[in-house]
């Protein structure tokens, strides 16, 4: 069983940033807002997290800075799309562009500098059980946060009144408004939550996963997170599975190369993307599930009239 522990750990940690970013986007989309700017928010979160951690020497400062930075970026997006009612797709792209450029500008001073790492937790006794120990009890703190967040978001959305309201806003903002719910206010908070999660995901990359800052270190993960939300049919439980699946297939591609399988590396690297498409097609055949869970007003601008 020795050989399984390493891969499991790698897959779980690789899927953590995807899971974090996707959870935030899931909440935002459930409230009806399509935010394509995840990549930009992650990048700014990563650089601010790294900078704060480096300057203060405390990883926790970095984590907090990453969250705040993500929220700040999301706030810009929220103002543009919710107050000025601009097109959400375009605004999200603008956010990505702006975020990537800004993060590179801020990060200029921090390239080539080793960062703090965050050590994994270690529970004496439990963490030492072979295979199960490190995988379940020996992960880094943020991975546990991600899993807890997934449970929390699921509980919030489906078991609380506030979550029901949020879903209502996403499904039919006109009716929700007529009932007296503050549509703009709820969406604003959902978008901020999305930004906080994306920022945290970015901070995870620069503080835990590969403790350093380099421009473009998000490497398209924001787009993958976006795809995963659709893949998960806007259900947090499925999101966890989707993130793990994507992480597993990506890892498999690298592992197979090391094994000496004769397939060209480019085709192996295509595997995660092709797998996502194929599984999505298979899921899409269950139209009922999709129809029930897709927020009906996703991406539509809301203008209260009287």
């Amino acid at each position: 069983m020795e050989g399984l522990e390493g891969p499991l750990l790698t897959i779980i940690t690789a899927s953590t940033p995807l899971l974090l970013a996707a959870l935030g986007e899931l909440v935002a989309e459930r409230s009806g807002v399509l935010n394509l700017g995840i990549e930009g928010m992650m990048a700014v979160g990563a650089v601010c997290g790294f900078a704060a951690g480096y300057v203060t020497g405390e990883p926790i400062a970095g984590i907090l800075a990453a969250i705040v930075a993500g929220m700040a970026m999301a706030a810009i997006f929220a103002v543009v799309t919710l107050v000025f009612v601009a097109n959400q797709v375009a605004s999200g792209l603008a956010l990505t562009l702006f975020g990537l450029g800004l993060s590179a500008l801020i990060g200029d001073a921090f390239v080539g500098v080793p960062g703090l790492g965050v050590t994994n937790i270690h529970i004496p006794g439990l963490s030492d059980i072979p295979l199960v120990g490190p995988v379940i009890f020996g992960l880094d703190p943020l991975t546990y946060v991600a899993l807890a967040l997934a449970i929390g978001v699921s509980w919030f959305l489906f078991r609380t009144r506030a979550g029901l309201t949020l879903r209502a806003v996403g499904d039919n903002h006109v009716s929700a408004h007529a009932l007296g719910y503050g549509v703009v206010r709820i969406r604003f908070m959902a978008v901020l939550f999305g930004g906080a999660c994306a920022g945290l995901a970015g901070g995870y990359l620069s503080l835990v996963y590969t403790p350093q800052w380099t421009p473009n270190m998000t490497a398209g993960r924001g787009w993958i997170a976006l795809a995963l939300v659709v893949f998960a049919a806007w259900l947090p439980a499925r999101l966890v599975i989707g993130a793990l699946l994507f992480g597993a297939v990506s890892y498999l591609a690298l592992y197979l190369q090391g094994r000496g399988v004769g397939i060209a590396s480019q085709f192996l690297s295509m595997l995660p993307y092709l797998t996502t498409i194929i599984v999505l097609v298979l899921i899409s055949r269950n139209q009922t599930l999709l129809r029930v869970n897709t927020p009906a007003c996703l991406g539509q601008p809301f203008v209260p009239d009287r």
Partner: protein
């Protein structure tokens, strides 16, 4: 409003242009494929540029463009430098080869130097470093230090430069342990910390206990450090990222070459050539041998001295291809042309070269 800005701007430009012209005899310019401070390949070139600025600063003004993608954007960037008065332009990535040639044709009075390429012209030189010499030493160290007899090799793309490096590493390892094995992973990028780190993990999970890389980020070494394993740095001393894990690193040292060539332009002795220097000329240096027992460090230093003196050539015969065919015999060594277009593995490597 904009007309005001334009007028003010025009005045400012004229003032600035007036002040900078005539201050230096020569303007030397660089084109980088990545950021000038990427902690890897491009930063190595930038350090070289800084050495030129330091040593020849009173006569030479230096300038650079970074993050230039290979392709038409590169041609434009090089042309822009040529037009802005650069007397010698260093294009530091293989993918700049054709753009460099094209611009060189338009500007016959400007000198161009292209790194790691193979096309020259009357005003275009190519230059490269014999990195494979360092790789041989890495291979010997790896074979001595590895407990499992397997090293993980993380690489970017199957170009001759990289294949040459893999082969040289393997030959060095085999000179210590004929049964040494390597596992190779292609990450299809020169710089992707996330993927490089994942590749390192995958290799460690398959039994490798030493990591070698031909990619530019310190991520693989950081993974090695976190697992208590070891590896080698690439392009620049990465000890600060992995104080306990790095044995040594191949450090790019373009500075002295750049100083030499810029001086040649100043002295009017610059000629087009295809330059390929190595340890002997200081084109690359080995980072201090750390985390090694004394006898292994001594062996490495000894090999390094032998390579520098010419006594040992990493590609000395007998060398066999993977399928067993003999390429050269005892007493010979592979010539430069064979090395520069290398697309086969030596015997003992189990992988296939991606075709």
């Amino acid at each position: 409003m904009r007309r005001l800005i334009a007028a003010a701007g025009a005045a400012a430009i004229v003032a600035l242009a007036g002040s900078s012209a005539g201050a230096a005899d020569l303007k030397a310019c660089w084109v980088y494929v990545g950021p000038h401070n990427d902690g890897g390949y491009s930063e190595g070139h930038d350090k070289g540029r800084q050495m030129v600025a330091e040593k020849l600063g009173d006569k030479v003004e230096t300038s650079y463009v970074e993050n230039v993608p290979e392709g038409p954007d590169a041609e434009r960037a090089i042309e822009r430098l040529a037009r802005s008065g650069c007397g010698i332009i260093f294009t530091t990535s293989f993918g700049f080869m054709d753009p460099t040639i094209k611009v060189a044709q338009k500007f016959p009075d400007v000198k161009f130097e292209h790194a790691t390429g193979f096309k020259t012209a009357p005003n275009v030189t190519t230059y490269n470093a014999r990195f494979y010499e360092g790789r041989y030493i890495l291979g010997q160290i790896a074979a001595k230090m590895s407990k499992t007899g397997v090293a993980g090799y993380i690489v970017s793309f199957p170009i001759p430069e990289v294949i040459m490096g893999i082969n040289s590493f393997m030959l060095g390892a085999q000179s210590v342990n004929p049964d040494f094995k390597i596992k190779i992973v292609w990450v299809n990028s020169w710089f992707d910390p996330g993927k490089e780190g994942d590749a390192a993990k995958a290799l460690f999970d398959q039994g490798a206990d030493i990591i070698v890389q031909h990619t530019d980020s310190p991520a693989p070494l950081q993974i090695a450090e976190s697992r208590g394993l070891h590896g080698f740095g690439q392009a620049h001393d990465m000890i600060s990222f992995a104080p306990d894990a790095q044995y040594t690193a191949i450090v790019d040292n373009w500075g002295p070459y750049y100083v030499k060539r810029v001086q040649a332009v100043l002295d009017d002795t610059w000629k087009s050539q295809a330059s390929w220097e190595g340890l002997k000329d200081g084109m690359l240096v080995m980072a201090p041998y750390t985390n090694l027992p004394d006898d292994v460090a001594a062996m490495a230093k000894d090999t390094q001295a032998k390579v520098e003196s010419g006594e040992l050539h990493p590609f000395k015969g007998p060398i066999y291809k993977q399928d067993g065919t003999k390429v050269i015999g005892e007493g010979e060594h592979l010539d430069d042309d064979t090395l520069l277009s290398m697309n086969w593995y030596v015997k003992g490597i189990d992988d296939q070269i991606p075709q």
